[in-house]
Symmetry: C2
Subunit: 257 residues, 2 copies
Protein backbone atom coordinates (compact mmCIF):
# COMPACT_ATOMS: atom_id res chain seq x y z
CA UNK A 1 0.00 0.00 0.00
CA UNK A 2 1.53 3.27 -1.12
CA UNK A 3 0.54 6.57 0.55
CA UNK A 4 0.85 9.76 -1.54
CA UNK A 5 0.30 13.12 0.12
CA UNK A 6 -0.71 16.06 -2.08
CA UNK A 7 0.19 19.26 -0.27
CA UNK A 8 0.95 22.93 -0.71
CA UNK A 9 0.26 25.70 1.78
CA UNK A 10 -0.78 28.01 -1.06
CA UNK A 11 -4.49 27.94 -1.77
CA UNK A 12 -6.11 27.13 -5.10
CA UNK A 13 -3.10 25.50 -6.80
CA UNK A 14 -4.93 22.31 -7.81
CA UNK A 15 -4.37 19.96 -4.83
CA UNK A 16 -7.89 18.54 -4.78
CA UNK A 17 -7.93 18.38 -8.59
CA UNK A 18 -4.65 16.41 -8.49
CA UNK A 19 -5.99 13.90 -5.93
CA UNK A 20 -9.21 13.39 -7.90
CA UNK A 21 -7.53 13.04 -11.29
CA UNK A 22 -4.74 10.71 -10.14
CA UNK A 23 -7.31 8.58 -8.27
CA UNK A 24 -9.33 8.36 -11.50
CA UNK A 25 -6.23 7.19 -13.39
CA UNK A 26 -5.42 4.55 -10.75
CA UNK A 27 -8.99 3.20 -10.90
CA UNK A 28 -8.70 2.84 -14.68
CA UNK A 29 -5.69 0.61 -14.00
CA UNK A 30 -7.89 -1.63 -11.84
CA UNK A 31 -6.33 -0.52 -8.55
CA UNK A 32 -8.13 -0.27 -5.19
CA UNK A 33 -7.95 3.38 -4.17
CA UNK A 34 -8.76 5.33 -0.99
CA UNK A 35 -8.75 9.14 -0.91
CA UNK A 36 -8.53 10.98 2.42
CA UNK A 37 -9.90 14.51 2.87
CA UNK A 38 -7.94 16.44 5.49
CA UNK A 39 -9.34 19.87 4.56
CA UNK A 40 -12.05 21.48 6.74
CA UNK A 41 -13.30 22.93 3.41
CA UNK A 42 -14.15 19.32 2.51
CA UNK A 43 -13.77 19.98 -1.24
CA UNK A 44 -12.82 16.34 -1.92
CA UNK A 45 -15.77 15.05 0.13
CA UNK A 46 -18.23 17.29 -1.74
CA UNK A 47 -16.61 16.53 -5.08
CA UNK A 48 -17.73 12.90 -4.82
CA UNK A 49 -21.24 13.71 -3.72
CA UNK A 50 -20.84 13.05 0.02
CA UNK A 51 -22.37 15.55 2.46
CA UNK A 52 -19.59 17.06 4.55
CA UNK A 53 -22.05 18.55 7.04
CA UNK A 54 -23.86 15.33 7.76
CA UNK A 55 -21.00 12.83 7.84
CA UNK A 56 -21.32 10.98 11.14
CA UNK A 57 -17.93 9.40 10.81
CA UNK A 58 -15.05 11.39 9.46
CA UNK A 59 -11.34 11.98 9.74
CA UNK A 60 -12.17 14.13 12.77
CA UNK A 61 -12.99 10.99 14.76
CA UNK A 62 -9.46 9.64 14.23
CA UNK A 63 -8.05 12.69 16.03
CA UNK A 64 -10.76 13.24 18.63
CA UNK A 65 -11.24 9.65 19.75
CA UNK A 66 -8.18 7.42 20.18
CA UNK A 67 -10.25 4.25 19.90
CA UNK A 68 -11.77 5.16 16.50
CA UNK A 69 -10.65 2.87 13.69
CA UNK A 70 -10.14 4.03 10.13
CA UNK A 71 -12.14 1.12 8.73
CA UNK A 72 -15.26 2.42 10.53
CA UNK A 73 -15.16 5.78 8.77
CA UNK A 74 -14.61 4.64 5.19
CA UNK A 75 -17.42 5.86 2.92
CA UNK A 76 -18.15 4.65 -0.59
CA UNK A 77 -18.31 7.41 -3.15
CA UNK A 78 -21.68 7.73 -4.83
CA UNK A 79 -20.42 8.73 -8.24
CA UNK A 80 -17.29 6.71 -8.85
CA UNK A 81 -17.22 2.90 -8.78
CA UNK A 82 -14.55 1.37 -6.62
CA UNK A 83 -13.28 4.57 -4.96
CA UNK A 84 -13.53 4.92 -1.17
CA UNK A 85 -13.24 8.17 0.79
CA UNK A 86 -12.37 9.10 4.36
CA UNK A 87 -14.54 12.21 4.51
CA UNK A 88 -13.79 15.58 6.12
CA UNK A 89 -16.07 17.76 8.23
CA UNK A 90 -15.78 21.48 9.02
CA UNK A 91 -14.92 20.65 12.65
CA UNK A 92 -11.39 19.70 11.48
CA UNK A 93 -10.70 23.44 11.64
CA UNK A 94 -10.77 23.24 15.46
CA UNK A 95 -8.06 20.58 15.80
CA UNK A 96 -5.13 23.00 15.84
CA UNK A 97 -6.62 24.84 18.79
CA UNK A 98 -7.45 21.63 20.64
CA UNK A 99 -4.34 19.55 20.01
CA UNK A 100 -1.78 22.04 18.74
CA UNK A 101 0.44 22.44 21.76
CA UNK A 102 0.35 18.81 22.92
CA UNK A 103 3.31 16.66 21.95
CA UNK A 104 3.19 13.50 19.90
CA UNK A 105 0.11 14.38 17.81
CA UNK A 106 1.92 13.97 14.51
CA UNK A 107 1.53 10.21 14.06
CA UNK A 108 -2.23 9.79 14.57
CA UNK A 109 -3.01 9.47 10.86
CA UNK A 110 -0.03 7.27 10.09
CA UNK A 111 -1.14 4.75 12.70
CA UNK A 112 -4.78 4.89 11.58
CA UNK A 113 -3.85 4.20 7.95
CA UNK A 114 -1.52 1.36 8.95
CA UNK A 115 -4.64 -0.53 10.04
CA UNK A 116 -5.86 -0.47 6.41
CA UNK A 117 -2.75 -2.16 5.02
CA UNK A 118 -3.68 -4.68 2.31
CA UNK A 119 -7.15 -3.21 1.63
CA UNK A 120 -5.92 -0.59 -0.85
CA UNK A 121 -3.14 -0.32 -3.41
CA UNK A 122 -2.89 3.48 -3.16
CA UNK A 123 -4.05 5.99 -0.58
CA UNK A 124 -4.08 9.68 -1.63
CA UNK A 125 -4.19 12.40 1.04
CA UNK A 126 -5.67 15.84 0.17
CA UNK A 127 -4.31 18.61 2.40
CA UNK A 128 -5.77 21.96 3.48
CA UNK A 129 -3.93 25.13 2.40
CA UNK A 130 -2.51 25.65 5.90
CA UNK A 131 0.50 24.50 7.85
CA UNK A 132 -1.00 22.85 10.88
CA UNK A 133 -1.52 19.53 12.61
CA UNK A 134 -3.42 18.00 9.66
CA UNK A 135 -0.65 18.69 7.16
CA UNK A 136 2.03 17.52 9.61
CA UNK A 137 0.11 14.25 10.06
CA UNK A 138 -0.21 13.84 6.29
CA UNK A 139 3.51 14.38 5.73
CA UNK A 140 4.38 11.93 8.51
CA UNK A 141 2.11 9.27 6.99
CA UNK A 142 3.35 9.65 3.40
CA UNK A 143 5.73 7.53 1.29
CA UNK A 144 5.85 10.37 -1.25
CA UNK A 145 4.72 14.00 -1.48
CA UNK A 146 3.36 15.66 -4.60
CA UNK A 147 3.47 19.46 -4.52
CA UNK A 148 1.24 21.06 -7.19
CA UNK A 149 2.27 24.63 -7.89
CA UNK A 150 0.70 27.14 -10.23
CA UNK A 151 2.95 28.48 -12.96
CA UNK A 152 2.73 32.05 -11.79
CA UNK A 153 4.93 34.38 -9.81
CA UNK A 154 3.14 34.52 -6.43
CA UNK A 155 2.89 30.75 -6.22
CA UNK A 156 6.67 30.35 -6.56
CA UNK A 157 7.17 32.24 -3.32
CA UNK A 158 4.77 29.93 -1.57
CA UNK A 159 6.72 26.96 -2.93
CA UNK A 160 9.90 27.94 -1.12
CA UNK A 161 7.95 27.95 2.12
CA UNK A 162 6.44 24.55 1.42
CA UNK A 163 9.83 23.00 0.74
CA UNK A 164 11.18 24.43 4.00
CA UNK A 165 8.28 22.75 5.79
CA UNK A 166 9.24 19.45 4.13
CA UNK A 167 12.82 19.82 5.29
CA UNK A 168 11.56 20.44 8.84
CA UNK A 169 9.41 17.30 8.75
CA UNK A 170 12.23 15.26 7.22
CA UNK A 171 14.39 15.91 10.25
CA UNK A 172 12.05 13.80 12.40
CA UNK A 173 11.51 10.97 9.93
CA UNK A 174 13.51 7.74 9.76
CA UNK A 175 14.08 8.18 6.02
CA UNK A 176 13.71 11.40 4.03
CA UNK A 177 10.46 11.90 2.15
CA UNK A 178 10.77 12.15 -1.61
CA UNK A 179 8.85 15.03 -3.15
CA UNK A 180 7.86 15.96 -6.68
CA UNK A 181 6.90 19.50 -7.70
CA UNK A 182 4.16 19.42 -10.37
CA UNK A 183 3.65 22.64 -12.38
CA UNK A 184 -0.12 23.21 -12.81
CA UNK A 185 -2.50 25.57 -14.61
CA UNK A 186 0.13 26.23 -17.26
CA UNK A 187 -1.20 28.67 -19.86
CA UNK A 188 1.16 28.77 -22.83
CA UNK A 189 -0.56 31.93 -24.16
CA UNK A 190 0.60 34.13 -21.29
CA UNK A 191 4.12 35.43 -20.77
CA UNK A 192 3.77 35.30 -16.99
CA UNK A 193 3.11 31.54 -17.15
CA UNK A 194 6.07 30.74 -19.42
CA UNK A 195 8.33 32.97 -17.27
CA UNK A 196 7.26 31.18 -14.11
CA UNK A 197 7.87 27.77 -15.67
CA UNK A 198 11.34 28.82 -16.81
CA UNK A 199 12.11 30.11 -13.31
CA UNK A 200 10.92 26.83 -11.80
CA UNK A 201 13.16 24.85 -14.13
CA UNK A 202 16.14 27.03 -13.33
CA UNK A 203 15.70 26.75 -9.59
CA UNK A 204 14.71 23.12 -9.14
CA UNK A 205 16.42 20.61 -11.31
CA UNK A 206 16.59 16.85 -11.32
CA UNK A 207 14.19 14.46 -9.67
CA UNK A 208 12.33 17.01 -7.53
CA UNK A 209 10.64 18.77 -10.46
CA UNK A 210 8.40 16.92 -12.91
CA UNK A 211 9.55 17.42 -16.47
CA UNK A 212 5.98 17.88 -17.77
CA UNK A 213 3.20 20.40 -16.98
CA UNK A 214 -0.54 20.24 -16.28
CA UNK A 215 -2.09 22.72 -18.73
CA UNK A 216 -5.01 25.06 -18.03
CA UNK A 217 -8.06 23.11 -19.17
CA UNK A 218 -11.69 24.22 -18.76
CA UNK A 219 -12.76 20.56 -18.69
CA UNK A 220 -11.63 20.31 -15.03
CA UNK A 221 -14.49 22.53 -13.99
CA UNK A 222 -16.94 20.49 -16.02
CA UNK A 223 -15.69 17.30 -14.40
CA UNK A 224 -16.16 18.81 -10.95
CA UNK A 225 -19.74 19.70 -11.83
CA UNK A 226 -20.37 16.05 -12.66
CA UNK A 227 -18.51 14.80 -9.59
CA UNK A 228 -16.30 12.52 -11.72
CA UNK A 229 -12.56 12.38 -12.32
CA UNK A 230 -11.55 14.09 -15.57
CA UNK A 231 -10.16 10.84 -17.00
CA UNK A 232 -13.68 9.42 -16.96
CA UNK A 233 -15.39 12.55 -18.34
CA UNK A 234 -12.92 13.52 -21.09
CA UNK A 235 -10.08 11.00 -21.40
CA UNK A 236 -8.73 12.70 -24.56
CA UNK A 237 -8.60 16.20 -23.00
CA UNK A 238 -5.24 17.90 -22.52
CA UNK A 239 -5.69 17.92 -18.75
CA UNK A 240 -6.45 14.19 -18.53
CA UNK A 241 -3.57 13.22 -20.80
CA UNK A 242 -1.10 15.27 -18.77
CA UNK A 243 -2.19 13.64 -15.50
CA UNK A 244 -2.01 10.15 -17.02
CA UNK A 245 1.54 10.91 -18.13
CA UNK A 246 2.39 12.06 -14.58
CA UNK A 247 0.79 8.93 -13.14
CA UNK A 248 2.80 6.63 -15.41
CA UNK A 249 6.03 8.27 -14.25
CA UNK A 250 5.05 8.11 -10.57
CA UNK A 251 4.27 4.38 -10.86
CA UNK A 252 7.50 3.74 -12.78
CA UNK A 253 9.59 5.39 -10.10
CA UNK A 254 7.67 3.56 -7.36
CA UNK A 255 8.56 0.20 -8.90
CA UNK A 256 12.23 1.21 -9.08
CA UNK A 257 12.45 1.71 -5.35
CA UNK B 1 -11.81 55.36 7.90
CA UNK B 2 -13.60 52.38 6.35
CA UNK B 3 -12.38 48.83 6.98
CA UNK B 4 -13.15 46.21 4.30
CA UNK B 5 -12.37 42.56 4.97
CA UNK B 6 -11.87 40.26 1.97
CA UNK B 7 -12.48 36.69 3.11
CA UNK B 8 -13.38 33.22 1.96
CA UNK B 9 -12.30 29.96 3.55
CA UNK B 10 -11.86 28.42 0.08
CA UNK B 11 -8.36 28.75 -1.29
CA UNK B 12 -7.40 30.36 -4.59
CA UNK B 13 -10.64 32.28 -5.23
CA UNK B 14 -8.97 35.66 -5.78
CA UNK B 15 -8.89 37.22 -2.27
CA UNK B 16 -5.40 38.68 -2.57
CA UNK B 17 -6.09 39.74 -6.16
CA UNK B 18 -9.25 41.55 -4.96
CA UNK B 19 -7.38 43.40 -2.19
CA UNK B 20 -4.58 44.46 -4.57
CA UNK B 21 -6.89 45.56 -7.38
CA UNK B 22 -9.35 47.48 -5.20
CA UNK B 23 -6.42 49.15 -3.41
CA UNK B 24 -5.06 50.18 -6.82
CA UNK B 25 -8.45 51.69 -7.74
CA UNK B 26 -8.68 53.61 -4.44
CA UNK B 27 -5.16 55.04 -4.95
CA UNK B 28 -6.18 56.29 -8.42
CA UNK B 29 -8.95 58.24 -6.66
CA UNK B 30 -6.32 59.94 -4.50
CA UNK B 31 -7.25 58.04 -1.32
CA UNK B 32 -4.85 57.04 1.47
CA UNK B 33 -4.90 53.24 1.61
CA UNK B 34 -3.53 50.62 4.01
CA UNK B 35 -3.60 46.90 3.19
CA UNK B 36 -3.21 44.31 5.95
CA UNK B 37 -1.86 40.83 5.28
CA UNK B 38 -3.31 38.25 7.69
CA UNK B 39 -2.19 35.20 5.72
CA UNK B 40 0.86 33.17 6.89
CA UNK B 41 1.41 32.59 3.13
CA UNK B 42 2.14 36.33 2.98
CA UNK B 43 1.02 36.59 -0.69
CA UNK B 44 0.04 40.25 -0.28
CA UNK B 45 3.36 41.09 1.42
CA UNK B 46 5.37 39.42 -1.37
CA UNK B 47 3.14 40.93 -4.06
CA UNK B 48 4.37 44.42 -3.16
CA UNK B 49 8.02 43.44 -2.98
CA UNK B 50 8.36 43.17 0.81
CA UNK B 51 10.26 40.22 2.25
CA UNK B 52 7.92 38.19 4.43
CA UNK B 53 10.75 36.21 5.98
CA UNK B 54 12.77 39.20 7.09
CA UNK B 55 10.03 41.55 8.30
CA UNK B 56 11.02 42.57 11.83
CA UNK B 57 7.67 44.11 12.51
CA UNK B 58 4.53 42.41 11.30
CA UNK B 59 0.95 41.68 12.15
CA UNK B 60 2.29 38.88 14.35
CA UNK B 61 3.55 41.48 16.87
CA UNK B 62 0.02 42.84 17.35
CA UNK B 63 -1.07 39.42 18.62
CA UNK B 64 2.08 38.35 20.45
CA UNK B 65 2.85 41.60 22.26
CA UNK B 66 -0.03 43.56 23.80
CA UNK B 67 2.03 46.78 23.88
CA UNK B 68 2.82 46.71 20.13
CA UNK B 69 1.21 49.57 18.21
CA UNK B 70 0.00 49.28 14.64
CA UNK B 71 1.77 52.49 13.62
CA UNK B 72 5.14 50.87 14.43
CA UNK B 73 4.65 48.04 11.96
CA UNK B 74 3.41 49.97 8.94
CA UNK B 75 5.69 49.38 5.95
CA UNK B 76 5.78 51.42 2.77
CA UNK B 77 5.38 49.37 -0.39
CA UNK B 78 8.36 49.51 -2.67
CA UNK B 79 6.45 49.32 -5.93
CA UNK B 80 3.28 51.36 -5.43
CA UNK B 81 3.33 55.03 -4.45
CA UNK B 82 1.14 55.94 -1.52
CA UNK B 83 0.16 52.42 -0.46
CA UNK B 84 1.12 51.18 3.02
CA UNK B 85 1.15 47.54 4.18
CA UNK B 86 0.96 45.77 7.53
CA UNK B 87 3.06 42.76 6.48
CA UNK B 88 2.57 39.10 7.37
CA UNK B 89 5.14 36.53 8.43
CA UNK B 90 4.94 32.72 8.35
CA UNK B 91 4.81 32.65 12.17
CA UNK B 92 1.16 33.77 11.96
CA UNK B 93 0.42 30.08 11.36
CA UNK B 94 1.23 29.37 15.03
CA UNK B 95 -1.30 31.82 16.51
CA UNK B 96 -4.22 29.39 16.55
CA UNK B 97 -2.23 26.94 18.65
CA UNK B 98 -0.97 29.65 21.00
CA UNK B 99 -4.10 31.75 21.49
CA UNK B 100 -6.94 29.61 20.18
CA UNK B 101 -8.48 28.39 23.42
CA UNK B 102 -8.07 31.67 25.36
CA UNK B 103 -11.15 33.89 25.51
CA UNK B 104 -11.35 37.46 24.27
CA UNK B 105 -8.78 37.18 21.50
CA UNK B 106 -11.19 38.28 18.80
CA UNK B 107 -10.81 42.06 19.16
CA UNK B 108 -7.02 42.44 19.03
CA UNK B 109 -6.95 43.63 15.43
CA UNK B 110 -9.98 45.89 15.78
CA UNK B 111 -8.32 47.73 18.67
CA UNK B 112 -4.97 47.96 16.85
CA UNK B 113 -6.57 49.46 13.74
CA UNK B 114 -8.60 51.92 15.81
CA UNK B 115 -5.30 53.61 16.70
CA UNK B 116 -4.79 54.41 12.99
CA UNK B 117 -8.09 56.32 12.67
CA UNK B 118 -7.65 59.42 10.51
CA UNK B 119 -4.43 58.26 8.86
CA UNK B 120 -6.14 56.27 6.11
CA UNK B 121 -9.38 56.54 4.13
CA UNK B 122 -9.66 52.80 3.52
CA UNK B 123 -8.08 49.76 5.16
CA UNK B 124 -8.34 46.43 3.27
CA UNK B 125 -7.76 43.15 5.15
CA UNK B 126 -6.56 40.07 3.22
CA UNK B 127 -7.52 36.81 4.95
CA UNK B 128 -5.95 33.33 4.89
CA UNK B 129 -8.04 30.45 3.48
CA UNK B 130 -8.76 29.11 6.96
CA UNK B 131 -11.32 29.70 9.66
CA UNK B 132 -9.22 30.61 12.66
CA UNK B 133 -8.31 33.42 14.99
CA UNK B 134 -6.98 35.65 12.18
CA UNK B 135 -10.21 35.51 10.16
CA UNK B 136 -12.33 35.99 13.30
CA UNK B 137 -10.28 39.12 14.13
CA UNK B 138 -10.67 40.41 10.57
CA UNK B 139 -14.45 39.92 10.64
CA UNK B 140 -14.72 41.63 14.04
CA UNK B 141 -12.72 44.63 12.77
CA UNK B 142 -14.64 45.09 9.51
CA UNK B 143 -17.32 47.58 8.44
CA UNK B 144 -18.04 45.43 5.39
CA UNK B 145 -17.03 41.98 4.09
CA UNK B 146 -16.34 41.13 0.46
CA UNK B 147 -16.52 37.42 -0.36
CA UNK B 148 -14.88 36.57 -3.71
CA UNK B 149 -16.10 33.24 -5.01
CA UNK B 150 -15.06 31.40 -8.15
CA UNK B 151 -17.84 30.71 -10.63
CA UNK B 152 -17.47 26.99 -10.40
CA UNK B 153 -19.29 24.18 -8.66
CA UNK B 154 -16.91 23.28 -5.80
CA UNK B 155 -16.53 26.90 -4.76
CA UNK B 156 -20.30 27.28 -4.27
CA UNK B 157 -20.22 24.66 -1.52
CA UNK B 158 -17.45 26.56 0.24
CA UNK B 159 -19.56 29.72 0.01
CA UNK B 160 -22.37 28.26 2.11
CA UNK B 161 -19.85 27.51 4.83
CA UNK B 162 -18.39 31.01 4.68
CA UNK B 163 -21.82 32.60 5.03
CA UNK B 164 -22.56 30.41 8.05
CA UNK B 165 -19.34 31.69 9.62
CA UNK B 166 -20.51 35.26 8.99
CA UNK B 167 -23.81 34.54 10.70
CA UNK B 168 -21.94 33.12 13.70
CA UNK B 169 -19.74 36.24 13.95
CA UNK B 170 -22.76 38.51 13.52
CA UNK B 171 -24.29 37.14 16.70
CA UNK B 172 -21.54 38.73 18.78
CA UNK B 173 -21.41 42.07 16.99
CA UNK B 174 -23.36 45.21 17.97
CA UNK B 175 -24.65 45.63 14.39
CA UNK B 176 -24.75 42.98 11.65
CA UNK B 177 -21.91 43.01 9.16
CA UNK B 178 -22.95 43.66 5.56
CA UNK B 179 -21.42 41.28 3.04
CA UNK B 180 -21.16 41.23 -0.73
CA UNK B 181 -20.50 38.07 -2.73
CA UNK B 182 -18.32 38.84 -5.78
CA UNK B 183 -18.28 36.21 -8.55
CA UNK B 184 -14.68 35.85 -9.83
CA UNK B 185 -12.75 34.05 -12.56
CA UNK B 186 -15.85 33.97 -14.74
CA UNK B 187 -15.10 32.25 -18.04
CA UNK B 188 -18.02 32.79 -20.45
CA UNK B 189 -16.63 30.10 -22.78
CA UNK B 190 -17.28 27.25 -20.36
CA UNK B 191 -20.66 25.80 -19.49
CA UNK B 192 -19.60 25.02 -15.93
CA UNK B 193 -18.90 28.72 -15.32
CA UNK B 194 -22.23 29.96 -16.71
CA UNK B 195 -24.08 27.23 -14.77
CA UNK B 196 -22.37 28.24 -11.53
CA UNK B 197 -23.19 31.92 -12.08
CA UNK B 198 -26.84 31.06 -12.75
CA UNK B 199 -26.94 28.98 -9.59
CA UNK B 200 -25.39 31.83 -7.59
CA UNK B 201 -28.00 34.25 -8.91
CA UNK B 202 -30.84 31.87 -8.08
CA UNK B 203 -29.66 31.27 -4.55
CA UNK B 204 -28.52 34.70 -3.44
CA UNK B 205 -30.58 37.60 -4.56
CA UNK B 206 -30.65 41.26 -3.65
CA UNK B 207 -27.92 43.26 -1.98
CA UNK B 208 -25.74 40.33 -0.91
CA UNK B 209 -24.69 39.34 -4.45
CA UNK B 210 -22.91 41.76 -6.78
CA UNK B 211 -24.74 42.10 -10.06
CA UNK B 212 -21.50 42.05 -12.08
CA UNK B 213 -18.68 39.50 -12.48
CA UNK B 214 -14.88 39.57 -12.50
CA UNK B 215 -13.87 37.79 -15.72
CA UNK B 216 -10.94 35.43 -16.18
CA UNK B 217 -8.12 37.67 -17.39
CA UNK B 218 -4.51 36.57 -17.97
CA UNK B 219 -3.36 40.14 -17.24
CA UNK B 220 -3.77 39.49 -13.49
CA UNK B 221 -0.79 37.15 -13.57
CA UNK B 222 1.25 39.68 -15.47
CA UNK B 223 0.42 42.36 -12.94
CA UNK B 224 1.50 40.08 -10.10
CA UNK B 225 4.82 39.50 -11.84
CA UNK B 226 5.37 43.27 -11.89
CA UNK B 227 4.15 43.70 -8.29
CA UNK B 228 1.65 46.38 -9.36
CA UNK B 229 -2.17 46.57 -9.18
CA UNK B 230 -3.81 45.65 -12.49
CA UNK B 231 -5.38 49.12 -12.83
CA UNK B 232 -1.89 50.55 -13.11
CA UNK B 233 -0.54 47.89 -15.50
CA UNK B 234 -3.50 47.56 -17.87
CA UNK B 235 -6.31 50.00 -17.02
CA UNK B 236 -8.28 49.06 -20.16
CA UNK B 237 -8.18 45.31 -19.48
CA UNK B 238 -11.43 43.44 -18.77
CA UNK B 239 -10.26 42.53 -15.28
CA UNK B 240 -9.38 46.12 -14.33
CA UNK B 241 -12.64 47.53 -15.73
CA UNK B 242 -14.71 45.00 -13.80
CA UNK B 243 -12.97 45.83 -10.49
CA UNK B 244 -13.35 49.59 -11.08
CA UNK B 245 -17.08 49.02 -11.64
CA UNK B 246 -17.26 47.04 -8.38
CA UNK B 247 -15.32 49.77 -6.56
CA UNK B 248 -17.69 52.50 -7.78
CA UNK B 249 -20.67 50.54 -6.44
CA UNK B 250 -18.99 49.86 -3.09
CA UNK B 251 -18.19 53.56 -2.63
CA UNK B 252 -21.71 54.56 -3.67
CA UNK B 253 -23.28 52.27 -1.13
CA UNK B 254 -20.81 53.44 1.56
CA UNK B 255 -21.92 57.04 1.08
CA UNK B 256 -25.57 56.03 1.38
CA UNK B 257 -25.06 54.64 4.86
N1 LIG C 1 -5.18 22.62 -14.77
C1 LIG C 1 -6.27 23.29 -14.47
N2 LIG C 1 -6.89 24.03 -15.42
C2 LIG C 1 -7.99 24.75 -15.13
N3 LIG C 1 -8.59 24.78 -13.94
C3 LIG C 1 -8.04 24.06 -12.96
C4 LIG C 1 -6.86 23.28 -13.15
N4 LIG C 1 -6.57 22.66 -11.97
C5 LIG C 1 -7.51 23.07 -11.08
N5 LIG C 1 -8.40 23.89 -11.67
C6 LIG C 1 -9.55 24.58 -11.06
O1 LIG C 1 -8.99 25.52 -10.15
C7 LIG C 1 -9.78 25.56 -8.95
C8 LIG C 1 -8.87 25.26 -7.76
O2 LIG C 1 -8.46 23.93 -7.80
P1 LIG C 1 -8.44 23.02 -6.50
O3 LIG C 1 -9.70 23.23 -5.72
O4 LIG C 1 -8.10 21.66 -6.94
O5 LIG C 1 -7.21 23.67 -5.74
P2 LIG C 1 -6.74 23.37 -4.24
O6 LIG C 1 -5.27 23.59 -4.21
O7 LIG C 1 -7.24 22.06 -3.84
O8 LIG C 1 -7.51 24.53 -3.45
P3 LIG C 1 -7.60 24.66 -1.81
O9 LIG C 1 -6.32 25.35 -1.44
O10 LIG C 1 -8.83 25.48 -1.56
O11 LIG C 1 -7.71 23.28 -1.29
C9 LIG C 1 -10.91 24.57 -9.16
O12 LIG C 1 -11.99 25.30 -9.64
C10 LIG C 1 -10.41 23.65 -10.25
O13 LIG C 1 -11.45 23.15 -11.03
N1 LIG D 1 -10.07 37.02 -12.54
C1 LIG D 1 -8.94 36.33 -12.62
N2 LIG D 1 -8.54 35.85 -13.82
C2 LIG D 1 -7.43 35.11 -13.93
N3 LIG D 1 -6.61 34.81 -12.92
C3 LIG D 1 -6.94 35.26 -11.70
C4 LIG D 1 -8.11 36.05 -11.48
N4 LIG D 1 -8.17 36.34 -10.15
C5 LIG D 1 -7.09 35.76 -9.58
N5 LIG D 1 -6.34 35.13 -10.51
C6 LIG D 1 -5.12 34.35 -10.32
O1 LIG D 1 -5.48 33.20 -9.56
C7 LIG D 1 -4.49 32.90 -8.57
C8 LIG D 1 -5.13 32.89 -7.21
O2 LIG D 1 -5.53 34.19 -6.86
P1 LIG D 1 -5.28 34.75 -5.39
O3 LIG D 1 -3.91 34.41 -4.94
O4 LIG D 1 -5.67 36.18 -5.40
O5 LIG D 1 -6.36 33.90 -4.58
P2 LIG D 1 -6.53 33.82 -3.00
O6 LIG D 1 -7.96 33.56 -2.73
O7 LIG D 1 -5.93 35.02 -2.38
O8 LIG D 1 -5.64 32.52 -2.65
P3 LIG D 1 -5.25 32.03 -1.15
O9 LIG D 1 -6.44 31.24 -0.73
O10 LIG D 1 -4.02 31.21 -1.34
O11 LIG D 1 -5.01 33.24 -0.33
C9 LIG D 1 -3.40 33.94 -8.77
O12 LIG D 1 -2.46 33.36 -9.61
C10 LIG D 1 -4.08 35.08 -9.50
O13 LIG D 1 -3.20 35.78 -10.32
MG1 LIG E 1 -8.35 21.53 -2.13
MG1 LIG F 1 -4.52 35.13 -0.83
Amino acid sequence: MKIWTIANQKGGVGKTTTVVTLAGGLLERGEKVLVVDLDPQASLTSYFGLDAEAAEHSVYNLFADKKAAAIDIVARTQSTEGLDVLPAVPALATLDRQLGSRQGQGLILRQALASLEGLYDHVLLDCPPTLGILMINALAAANRVIVPTQTEHLALKGLERMLRTLEMVNRSRPSPLEYLIVPTMFDRRTRASTHALRELRERYEGPSLWSGVIPVDTRFREASELGLPLCQVAPASRGAKAFLELLAELLDSDSDR
